[in-house]
Symmetry: C2
Subunit: 523 residues, 2 copies
């Protein structure tokens, strides 16, 4: 609470109060000491309840409550008068208690997990400094850091030079790339728009991220003008099918301008064959964008970077260090091979109030006009501090370990009755079905698959209500619901004492309890 009310009483007794429109202007209106004390007390809670528990497998990964129940538990209402510090600290406790612990060793629900202490410190620093990264005058350090990080990421892609920008998410990076490719294809679109132009067409695999459709819709291209290219049984784009689609688009009289390849698909973790796709792009003069939001981190590993063989031929790359590398949400770069200022030409609006040209320093450092955002967060910084702390070898270790854990998990799945691999993974995504005892003797056929489809949601519900584990599941390309497990947390450990068979014992615990009746009843 601002301490103004009582201060006013004191001040009004003084002769020198400056009163304008009923507001006393003397003195700051916050009680800094009380505010600082509140921050200190809250930090203690954060340390004890979140950070210190991040490696404790005996804690729950979530404390599930249904929406209507949780609304009743939490005091969500915002009122006219503020609450006491004591009440606020209790609120913070409640928020933490009922939030999912994404850095719990058993959180396998998304493509991010775990905690990195260095990235976390960087994020605390930037939250406290509250910068906005558009001009050098306001964000000198963070702009230089972003430049350095982009330069380093470009090195790992294998380009000699390039440009880039950090964005709020891989989806936004993909949008940037799509717009950039379009600008390169026809710069006039920036001023004139798409009206009256031939239909622009782009290509992506059936397994690409859904942001391609979102981007095509948002950019006025239209979702129907994303031509989806067939994938092979491992989820990789088939180059011959891409060639066919490009031919088809040309025949229709539309204007192909872009191929979006994926390096590490969301569900299967598949890598499109970049080299062959690049050949087709060259032949047809198409921009090659690689959505390596998930798979890009493999570039750090000397052992695994071959998964992205050919990436140096891409025109642009999206890469999210907040996933496998643990830089914290969000940390997403769009990297561009062009070094002639294309990004700036495409995006600049030259706002005179922000990007003044008569500043006293080199305004080429005012890189904010490359962005679709005005205020922008210093997301490169947390990656940078983490990189300084771990070194490239520490980052590499994270990648190598995640892929070794996947390999291990695959071998264990093969040994176990009732577990069935969907496919041999290329990357960290281990996709499998759990077939409960009641279905094991059943004949393969529509009924079997229909029943199997219902298993994963039930298992997941039980795991969440117990708070024992969180694991993603989904149907995909005609395949019924299966689990996708990704183990990237550095806090995840397999010690014989506690967690040797973590992955399976836990899954099994849920599954043994799985009421076969329930499955039957739901039919």
């Amino acid at each position: 609470m601002e301490a103004n009310t009582c201060k006013q009483d004191v001040l009004q007794k003084k002769k020198n109060a400056i009163l304008v429109d009923g507001v006393i202007l003397n003195g700051p209106i916050t009680d800094s000491k009380a505010g600082e004390k509140f921050v200190e007390e809250a930090c203690k809670i954060i340390m004890e309840e979140i950070i210190q528990k991040a490696d404790d497998v005996t804690e729950k990964v979530c404390e599930w409550r249904a929406p209507e129940t949780l609304k009743k538990i939490l005091d969500l209402e915002m009122r006219d008068t503020g609450e006491s510090h004591q009440k606020l600290l209790q609120l913070c406790q409640d928020v933490i208690q009922y939030s999912v612990k994404t850095n719990h060793p058993r959180f396998f629900n998304q493509l991010y997990a775990g905690i990195d202490y260095y990235s976390l410190v960087a994020r605390f620093i930037t939250e406290a400094l509250n910068p906005s990264v558009y001009t050098y005058e306001v964000s000198p350090v963070f702009l230089l850091v972003e430049e350095a990080v982009i330069k380093k990421m470009i090195e790992f892609i294998g380009w000699e030079d390039g440009d880039g920008i950090f964005n709020p998410g891989g989806s936004v990076s993909n949008m940037y790339a799509m717009n950039l490719a379009r600008y390169k294809f026809c710069p006039e679109i920036k001023e004139k728009g798409l009206s009256g132009l031939p239909r622009l067409v782009l290509f992506a695999s059936e397994e690409c991220h859904y942001s391609m459709k979102k981007a095509a819709s948002f950019l006025g291209i239209g979702t129907e003008n994303v031509y989806f290219v067939k994938t092979d049984e491992r989820g990789k784009m088939i180059p011959e099918e891409l060639e066919k689609q490009v031919q088809r688009a040309r025949k229709e009289g539309s204007a192909p301008f872009l191929v979006c390849a994926t390096a590490g698909t969301t569900v299967l973790g598949a890598f499109d064959p970049l080299d062959k796709i690049a050949d087709i792009c060259e032949k047809h003069d198409l921009w090659l964008h690689v959505d390596a939001s998930w798979g890009g981190s493999a570039l750090i590993s000397r052992k695994h970077r071959k998964l992205l063989h050919g990436i140096q031929r891409a025109d642009s790359v999206a890469w999210n260090p907040h996933k496998m590398l643990l830089a914290g949400i969000q940390c997403c770069a769009l990297l561009v091979k062009d070094n002639s200022g294309l990004l700036k030409k495409c995006y600049s609006a030259k706002a005179a109030y922000l990007f003044q040209q008569d500043k006293f320093y080199d305004v080429s450092y005012d890189t904010g006009d490359k962005s679709i955002q005005c205020s922008r967060r210093p997301d490169a910084f947390k990656f940078w501090l983490m990189w300084k702390a771990l070194g490239t070898t520490g980052l590499e270790e994270r990648v190598n370990r995640a892929l070794a854990l996947a390999r291990y998990l695959v071998e264990e799945i093969k040994k176990r009755e009732g577990f069935q691999l969907l496919l041999e993974p290329e990357y960290a995504n281990v996709c499998f079905w759990y077939v409960p005892p009641s279905l094991r003797k059943m004949e393969d056929g529509p009924e079997f698959w229909q029943k199997l489809h219902q298993v994963a949601p039930v298992v997941k519900e039980r795991m969440m209500k117990k708070g024992s584990m969180m694991l993603g599941y989904q149907p995909n390309q005609g395949k019924v619901n299966f689990f996708r497990q990704v183990v990237i947390s550095p806090q995840f450990g397999m010690s014989l004492r506690v967690e040797t068979w973590l992955i399976f014992t836990l899954t099994r615990l849920e599954i043994v309890n799985l009421n076969e009746e329930l499955l039957k009843a739901s039919n």
Copy 2:
């Protein structure tokens, strides 16, 4: 540094090590205790160097270094091996030292300033929890909080019902609105795109934010199809001119679909006459979007909400609580009057791996498919905790005080020789020229204005190199460079002892030192 290297030695001696692809899988690879200690030590630095200094006017607002110099000071390079904790803590110190203190009482450079302790705590919590706000299963608390905050903001707009989403910036909110209006105008665009359609046209004032142009370009509409409407001498859109522009667009055979009014322009702080603009929108069946990124906070003040008279007639509103209300960058809502699910229909891509329909809870809480983003930050939460702490009256006080300070500053400017107001402000933006002694006797004419244009950059350079104050300047609509001062920090105080004439004494200090020779030499 990950503690793997030494652990490996130990583990390899054990019999039970699980080795896959050369990676030992036993045990977590982070040393949690060391990590936690690092976080604690860094938090101490953050508390002492950033938070406790936020109300200290004797500190510098910035420690200016030119880009090339700062590069040499900071050890930016990312190496193969990590650094020691001691070195990392020093790096953190350096980063803080050379970063601009945006929460310093004398930071007036942007439309945000100051520090709010409650919002800061909320941000620390979310950084530590590292959530992504797309599904209820992963972000139960933060999705409910977002819903509650949006509902409350909608109340303040004066709608009976509505929808909304928090976005990474006001620019992005404006884009959302533009796309939403387009979807409402012609839903087919989502699938078909703009190709072959008549030219879409939208209207915004000459003083609107530059994101309108960025949005039109990004969305494939084209910057030329933003028709800029003339403003009056205070920077407010002239309704009659809007009517003319709409007529012009109709005559040209283009398709007008949207008017973007501004409530609180960036430079002058002008409010477009929303009620009259709404009449025109109704007459021509145009979507009315109000960019209240800056001015929206006035809605909280019973005294000042009349500035936005008519806002309840808007179809959508962008409002950034990170500016005058101090919620921390970024905290930006797009609010939509429609309650029929338009936002979701327009944006959804129905990704089967994330928005499964066979979940065990009410999936209407999985609001992530309303967004163009996939991973998304819980930006509503920091606003919510701050609101809980201050109450509506505490937020109202911030707005009332900022406007009272502006009023005070205006009256002081009028009293002082050499200071010239650009215009009577409606809001918190106080725009003025400083005319140095050498120009005071000069005749009004091109030479005078040309010389005056050069004053602000020189004053600013001196202030920054001294670290005494940061203040924005810009030319605008044919007017030469002038200062824009906005005083919103609750840490800013005017005590007779230390700071009574802060605003002027400081500005004056710089200006008295202003070398007239330098001005002459630069001609």
